[in-house]
């Protein structure tokens, strides 16, 4: 018997990615319990140890800090910050987009023009610009990633809500006297959520990459903060002599992005009605 390829395999992809993400999230939360070393303790006598020496699983960096601990703690910043950025963006975009679509008229027009303008603006340039101007710090990074980040969600929420709005259950809800806020929160948002969540999962992956690229350009977090991009950037000078320093943070970035992308991909197959082969009778 031939099994249904899509559903089976996207489940597998999702399972794998959920497992990886769960492991990472646990690692990040219980970092102090997992790591034998503090990521900020400098020990100049133990500099640049290769992986596996003296209990340093991934070796040590140029300051003799444990690389494993720095990567685990780095996840707190890289993943934590990305998740926060994406969550704020999603909520912001969801509220703005569904509000605009739901109320319609002038408000919708104004919001969509703003979105149009921001959409056609080079987001990477703006992000670099904001951080370059305000200086590198986590809060500025956060701000820069929010300025343009909500737009995608707002557009998506708007178009979803517009199509939902015409559907009978919303009319019915209005018919039984629900007020607008109640309709938005009880009926509209729950129906929009699956697509937003899918988009958000993919967005987390790309945000991790953006943050690490900014760190590489010297526009990310400040030392000695452990962050994957920053760790990678610090390791750059040791590239040829101590490759372990650049390999492990590189893998951490790639793996987390990979699993978030995989999750997003799986969720999309799951949420997208087009890809579910519906059976017509």
């Amino acid at each position: 018997m031939k099994k249904n390829g899509i559903i089976q395999n996207s489940n597998l992809l999702m399972k794998v990615s959920i497992i990886i993400i769960t492991i990472m999230v646990f690692g990040v939360i219980f970092a102090p319990r997992i790591c034998n070393f503090d990521p900020y303790t400098v020990d100049l006598t133990k500099r640049l140890l290769p992986p596996g020496t003296d209990g340093h699983i991934f070796g040590t960096d140029g300051f003799g800090r444990d690389l494993f601990a720095r990567i685990i703690y780095g996840g707190r910043v890289s993943i934590g910050l990305s998740v926060c950025v994406v969550m704020v963006n999603a909520v912001l975009g969801l509220i703005i987009g569904s509000f605009a679509a739901y109320t319609g008229g002038v408000i919708d027009e104004i919001v969509m023009r703003i979105v149009d303008v921001l959409m056609s603006f080079p987001s990477i340039i703006l992000t670099l610009f904001i951080i370059g101007v305000l200086g590198p710090s986590i809060s500025n990074l956060f701000f820069a990633l929010i300025v343009l980040g909500w737009i995608g969600y707002a557009r998506m929420a708007r178009s979803l809500v517009l199509s939902l709005k015409e559907q009978s259950f919303i009319t019915a809800a209005r018919g039984i006297g629900c007020n607008d806020a109640r309709i938005i929160f009880l009926h509209v948002i729950p129906n929009v959520m699956p697509m937003i969540i899918t988009f958000a999962a993919l967005h987390i992956g790309s945000t991790i990459l953006v943050i690490s690229s900014l760190s590489f350009l010297g526009l990310g977090v400040q030392p000695p903060t452990a962050e994957w991009g920053a760790t990678l950037s610090e390791a750059k000078q040791y590239l040829s002599l101590y490759p372990h320093m650049i390999i492990f943070p590189g893998i951490a970035i790639a793996l987390s992005m990979f699993s978030f992308n995989m999750l997003g991909d799986g969720l999309r197959d799951f949420a997208d009605p087009h890809l579910k082969k519906t059976i017509k009778t």
């Binding site: 395999n9 080079p122 340039i125 610009f129 990459l209 690229s213 590489f216 350009l217 590239l239």
Partner: protein, 312 residues
């Protein structure tokens, strides 16, 4: 059609005004001044109060920023963006020189990425759930997960340092292009092929595909004339928006491979607070975006008869 173009152009002017205002506001809020940063870069020392005063005077920067900006706007209307404070060259000249380099990198990347992405995207959609699809999905996801700067450095170590096949920096020959283009092609092809795949899949599940199959058309015709033809709209939009972002997003690659493009130069200008360069570049980049979006929209209307006839 004309209406759409006018609407778009109007929006474009609006975007450019917003872009200028935005860069002005940010610069106004920003701490620091160009004199201090440029002098520090030149001498490697903290410039003294007197040196800064003199520099500001020489570059006519001792007037309030608001006056500077209104003058700048007046000049910008005539496409004169003033001179770079750092290099004393007209901003327009700087932009054209650098833009040529960035555009070259971008276009060549696209020239490789687009056919490759179409090949991967279409094949994996046709092979939905099969081996090719799984393998290509895995590798496109992987390719998207590799930071560009990491890949660039790795390529440099392997092909310049170890094998000594390719130049690690420079600009002007085909050899110089290989590594920057390769770095960009990896991520870009992956992103684009995924857009193509999902757009293809969406269309492949439509009723008209069943009709086409019911008519006994071959797999090839169905894929190309039916699914791909209908997917082209969103794909062109994706290429358009990605093209814009590619133009702006080559900063990392430009930094790693010392490519004399707009991205790296703009970042340096931001560091130095080279106001005319920042404002001019932001405006010109925004203009590029407007033009690209316009071209995308026009193309879209040609591709999709539904929009074409509605707008007529």
């Amino acid at each position: 059609m004309e209406k759409m173009i006018f609407r778009r152009l109007f929006l474009g002017i609006f975007i450019m005004i917003i872009a200028s205002l935005l860069s002005f506001v940010l610069l106004y809020l920003a701490p620091g001044n160009p004199a201090e940063n440029i002098l520090r870069q030149r001498t490697g020392e903290d410039p003294s109060y007197e040196e800064i005063e003199l520099f500001l005077q020489q570059k006519d920067l001792d007037v309030p920023l608001l006056t500077q900006t209104s003058e700048w706007l007046y000049m910008a209307l005539r496409f004169d963006f003033g001179e770079s404070i750092n290099t004393s060259e007209p901003v327009m000249d700087e932009f054209i020189t650098r833009f040529k380099a960035t555009l070259q990198l971008t276009l060549i990347t696209l020239a490789f990425s687009i056919p490759l992405a179409f090949f991967i995207g279409v094949r994996s959609a046709a092979n939905n759930g099969g081996t090719f699809d799984h393998v290509s999905r895995f590798f496109t996801l992987l390719a998207m997960s590799i930071p560009e700067f990491w890949l660039g450095l790795m390529l440099m170590i392997v092909f310049s340092k170890t094998l000594n096949w390719l130049p690690s920096f420079g600009y002007g020959s085909y050899l110089n292009l290989i590594m920057p283009v390769a770095t960009l092609v990896v991520g870009y092809t992956a992103t684009l092929s995924r857009v193509i795949r999902s757009s293809m899949l969406e269309n492949l599940s439509q009723d008209f595909i069943t009709t086409a199959k019911g008519n006994g058309l071959s797999q090839h015709v169905i894929l190309i004339k039916y699914a791909l033809r209908n997917s082209l709209g969103p794909i062109v939009t994706a290429i358009g928006s990605q093209f814009g972002h590619l133009l702006a997003g080559v900063v990392v690659v430009e930094t790693v491979f010392s490519w004399p493009g707009i991205g790296k130069f703009l970042i340096d200008a931001v560091y130095l607070r080279d106001f005319p360069v920042i404002q001019g570049f932001v405006l010109l980049i925004a203009m590029m975006f407007v033009v690209i979006n316009l071209i995308t929209d026009i193309l879209y209307t040609y591709i999709d008869p539904r929009i074409r006839y509605e707008r007529r």
